[in-house]
């Protein structure tokens, strides 16, 4: 009951006319930017960070609550109305959603997606209220060795499990860790990797890394491969659903929520797996199997709910442990840090009001989203027609402004360009972006925890493996790292040592297999 009281306290803090206005602004801007093609939720949050610089912490968190859900919903509008989803979590929505839109049911697809997002967001945010404090209770009992082990699990998870190639994931992670090293050592004050530059001595701001990799890198990458003919946008009126659509949607919403939340809440879960699972579940359970592949409403309702529930779920490790498990969460952590708030298990004890306010603003943002999106959908659809030169010029414009505003030094703009080139190369070579950001954010934290842990034992390495929690974590890491070797040996014994055709010499993750399964399905129909 304590949690509920604390949450009510959070609501009381949020519900003032000014704060509600800010929440509304967050949702509107978040959706508008999220709808723009090529801009996913993570880039939305990164680009909109500067808006929050001038605000007090409380109000900027309220703004974030709105931007977070707004950006998420905007992305799914894009994938329904334009059949070229930008981010992996919306791929599944596009499968059926775009087919529905082409069949003249865009209004229903957007409606089930908006209402489903609302239902999933509300249930999942309520789940945060009950799960997060439990995780915190557990997390505060952990010493530096256990905490170190949990962060390492997050590293291995984002690098090895989420992407399609482990070696590429680890390469990205290590580049991120190296970026995190740049600056002044926090114990001895020595300069590392600064090459004598006073600008680097102050560490590279994580916001600059995030904006450089997400926004500038993406803009340069798209510029190099700009589609000559923009995709066709399907016009849409006001979203609505018939009674039958409601009947077919509500169960997929609930199932999608149930699938999405747990995946979001565990480190290395992500939104891709639950959205695919939800799609496969709905296809199996539907009473209208003939419609799948031609625009079945269940195939939009379920994955959309799963996507949103998973996004809300990422708030659990974010608020309870300080661990970002998706790109958007990583940027929210960066924003916390820029306010001098240290994320981690102590956050809830030290800043309970802030945490509950953020949770309350998630509820409110989610509600505004529903109120706003149903009537405004035709306006959002118009945003999809924005001329691409203006769109990407605008991204570069806002990225420069945001990065400059962090420290007010032109040097950061050159750094931003360099990081943009890095982001370009990563997209070119298929290196995942998330491990890099996670490495850059958590690298300094890992080093601190490791040095603290070793300090307790006077440098004896046993200080790193104390406690059953740490053992479980290391066992998990070893299992993840060793598994492909084991399976390769097995295959080798079978007499077939050729890597699978078209593969990258690694075992494809379940996500990729699911993707393959669903795309072949799509083609078969």
């Amino acid at each position: 009951m304590d949690n509920v009281n604390a949450l009510l306290g959070g609501f009381a803090d949020v519900i003032t006319p000014m704060n509600l206005l800010i929440a509304l602004l967050g949702v509107t801007v978040g959706t508008a930017v999220g709808v723009l093609p090529g801009i996913g939720p993570a880039m939305t949050v990164a680009l909109l960070l500067p808006i929050t610089y001038g605000l007090p912490v409380e109000q900027s968190l309220i703004l974030f609550g709105g931007i977070f859900y707004g950006g998420m919903y905007g992305g799914s509008t894009t994938s329904i109305l334009l059949n070229t989803p930008g981010e992996s979590a919306s791929v599944v929505t596009a499968l059926e959603g775009n087919k529905m839109a082409k069949a003249g049911r865009a209004a229903q697809a957007l409606a089930t997606s908006a209402i489903g997002s609302f239902v999933a967001g509300t249930i999942a945010t309520a789940a945060i209220v009950f799960v997060m404090p439990q995780v915190v209770d557990f997390a505060v009992t952990l010493g530096p060795p256990e905490f170190l082990a949990i962060i390492l699990v997050a590293f291995v998870g984002t690098a090895a499990i989420l992407g399609s190639s482990r070696v590429r994931g680890f390469a990205a992670l290590l580049v991120g860790l190296a970026l995190g090293l740049v600056g002044t050592d926090f114990v001895t004050g020595q300069q590392r990797l600064t090459f004598g530059s006073p600008f680097l001595a102050d560490n590279i701001d994580v916001v600059v890394v995030a904006v450089g990799i997400f926004a500038v890198g993406e803009a340069l990458w798209v510029a190099a491969h700009l589609r000559r003919k923009a995709g066709t946008v399907i016009p849409v009126g006001r979203p609505w659903m018939s009674k039958e659509d409601w009947g077919r949607s509500w169960k997929p919403w609930l199932r999608g929520t149930a699938l999405g939340f747990p995946f979001g809440a565990i480190p290395a879960g992500g939104a891709e797996i639950p959205t695919f699972l939800s799609y496969l579940t709905e296809r199996k359970l539907t009473k209208h199997p003939e419609e799948f592949g031609k625009g079945a409403i269940e195939g939009v309702a379920g994955p959309e709910a799963a996507n949103n529930a998973s996004a809300a779920g990422t708030m659990v490790p974010l608020l309870a442990l300080g661990l970002p498990t998706n790109a958007t969460a990583a940027i929210i952590i960066a924003a916390f840090m820029s306010y001098g708030i240290e994320p981690g298990p102590l956050l809830l004890t030290k800043e309970p009001d802030l945490v509950w306010m953020l949770v309350a603003s998630l509820f409110i943002g989610n509600f505004f989203l529903l109120v706003l999106n149903l009537p405004l959908a035709p306006a959002w659809a118009k945003l999809l027609r924005i001329p691409r030169p203006y769109l990407y010029a605008g991204i570069l414009f806002f990225a420069s402004m945001g990065a400059y505003a962090v420290n007010a030094q032109p040097f950061d703009l050159f750094l931003l360009l360099g990081l943009g080139a890095l982001g370009f190369a990563m997209r070119r070579f298929g290196l995942p972006v998330l491990p890099l950001i996670v490495g850059a954010i958590l690298g300094p934290l890992v080093e601190r925890k490791a040095r603290q842990a070793l300090q307790l034992t006077g440098g004896d390495a046993s200080g790193l493996v104390g406690g059953p929690v740490a053992w479980v974590c290391y066992a998990f890491i070893v299992a993840v790292l060793v598994w492909p070797l084991v399976s390769r040996l097995r295959r080798g014994r079978g007499g077939d040592d050729d890597p699978p055709a078209g593969g990258d010499g690694e075992n494809p993750s379940p996500e990729v297999e699911l993707a393959r399964a669903t795309t072949t399905e799509g083609r078969a129909s």
Partner: protein, 182 residues
């Protein structure tokens, strides 16, 4: 799969293939070299740090960079092995991305130039001018041919953000030579 995967020759029988016969998209090897180089730089940089350890800090500031740099070199080698075995990374797709044709380096170069110009001009001329130029030049590089409209949008955006953020919210944006006018 990326375009490289479909255009590059598939690995033929091991006996008939040369040493690089199975490699698709050889530029990947350049990336491996860059990763290894980065690892070496991290290690070399760390090795010139003073070895300061104390009872408070038994490992000192060198341990982490040694670990990261070493791991970078190891991963670079593993990555190269993967490439040599025919592995290829999947280039990122997107709403406005068409991977069918070659990268348009001219546009990327112009954008980089516009971006760097903004970095140089932002303090002397101020955000309103440098930001307008950034938008106008970037839109031009990306194929906008309505020059007046592009410039007008750029100026509107730069003025709007300056008033909203620098004056309204107190965000750091320089006024430059327009100090006193804005």
């Amino acid at each position: 799969m990326s375009t490289e995967a479909t255009t590059a020759p598939e690995g033929t029988t091991p006996s008939g293939a040369g040493p690089l016969g199975r490699v698709r998209d050889r530029a990947q090897l350049g990336l491996c070299a860059a990763l290894a180089l980065a690892g070496v730089v991290v290690v070399v940089d760390a090795s010139r740090l003073g070895e300061v350890t104390s009872s408070n800090d038994p490992v000192g500031p060198r341990a982490m960079p040694f670990l990261v740099g070493g791991a970078l070199v190891v991963v670079a080698v593993l990555y190269a092995l993967d490439v040599l075995r025919g592995g290829v990374g999947e280039a990122e797709a997107g709403e406005d991305v068409e991977l069918g044709h070659r990268a348009d380096w001219r546009t990327v170069g112009l954008l980089g130039g516009a971006f760097a110009l903004n970095a140089v001009l932002i303090e002397p001329l101020g955000w309103v001018i440098s930001g307008s130029l950034l938008f106008f030049l970037s839109a031009f590089a990306l194929g906008n041919r309505h020059h007046v409209r592009g410039l007008a949008i750029g100026i509107a955006l730069a003025l709007g953000t300056f008033y909203a953020f620098a004056i309204g919210l107190g965000v750091n944006l320089p006024a430059g030579i327009l100090q006193g006018i804005l």
